[in-house]
Amino acid sequence: MKLRSGISDNFVEECSIYDSRRSDLERDHMGEYVLIQRDGLVAIFPTLQSARENAKMRFPHGPYLISRIVEGFSPSDKGEWKFTNA
């Protein structure tokens, strides 16, 4: 995946890893934070802060993805524009 600045990242791969484990994550870790690196799921953390600290320690140069585990959500879900009536 190319960003506007020209640098590349592993977001697509990380989202794919999240999606492949999504049902397990939603069943066992709702509301927690998952740390994913391109080689796979690294660990689950109770808070964003703990996930951040651990990620920086393990992967000081990145890349990685931290995502909150929310029912029905995938980090690849961008959202959409919809017309409203109001």
Partner: protein, 169 residues
């Protein structure tokens, strides 16, 4: 057919054309987080709504929000990711929020990356990308300073027909 002027007029010696070139097409948006649109996970207390100026940025695919505004509004930070490049690691916070353009009766609900607009001295506090523009026709008149956003919603407007004509060329 909703239509919104996003350009500039002449003001205090500065031409609309010049002001548009300096600032860019600008519209007012409401940024907030609606608990009812948060996958059934209420956020308490309800977060405030901010009305801010947004730049229509044809150079970006996805809309985004100023990182400082996201923190001020305490938008739920749902994803944090890093990207690596020659300059080293860059961290990107991604929030779940709503962007609403009342004048055009359209709303975005989903993930918005936090970008450093205010910290960089930019006047806008949100970027509206091509994900928004795919629903509209934008007419940019650089010589006059006028920018019109037109919705062809519900009708086959002459703008739409004109766009299709150009697309075939």
């Amino acid at each position: 057919m909703p239509e919104l002027e996003c350009g500039f007029t002449d003001l205090e010696g500065a031409s609309g054309s010049r002001r548009l070139a300096q600032v860019g097409p600008t519209l007012l948006v409401q940024v907030n987080h609606d608990p009812e649109q948060w996958f059934g996970m209420p956020v308490q207390p309800a977060l405030p709504t901010a009305t801010v100026s947004a730049l229509i940025d044809t150079g970006t695919s996805d809309s985004s929000v100023d990182a400082m505004l996201a923190e001020e509004l305490q938008l739920p930070l749902i994803v944090q990711r890093t990207v690596s490049g020659v300059g080293g690691e860059t961290s990107v916070n991604v929030y779940w929020a709503q962007l609403r353009v009342p004048a055009l009766q359209i709303q975005f609900a989903g993930l918005l990356a936090g970008v450093h607009l205010n910290a960089g001295g930019q006047p806008h506090r949100a970027l509206i990308g091509r994900d928004f523009l795919q629903h509209f026709t934008m007419i940019y008149e650089g010589r006059s300073g006028s920018v019109k956003i037109v919705s062809g919603r519900g009708s086959s407007s002459w703008f739409t027909r004109l766009s299709r004509l150009f697309a075939k060329r």
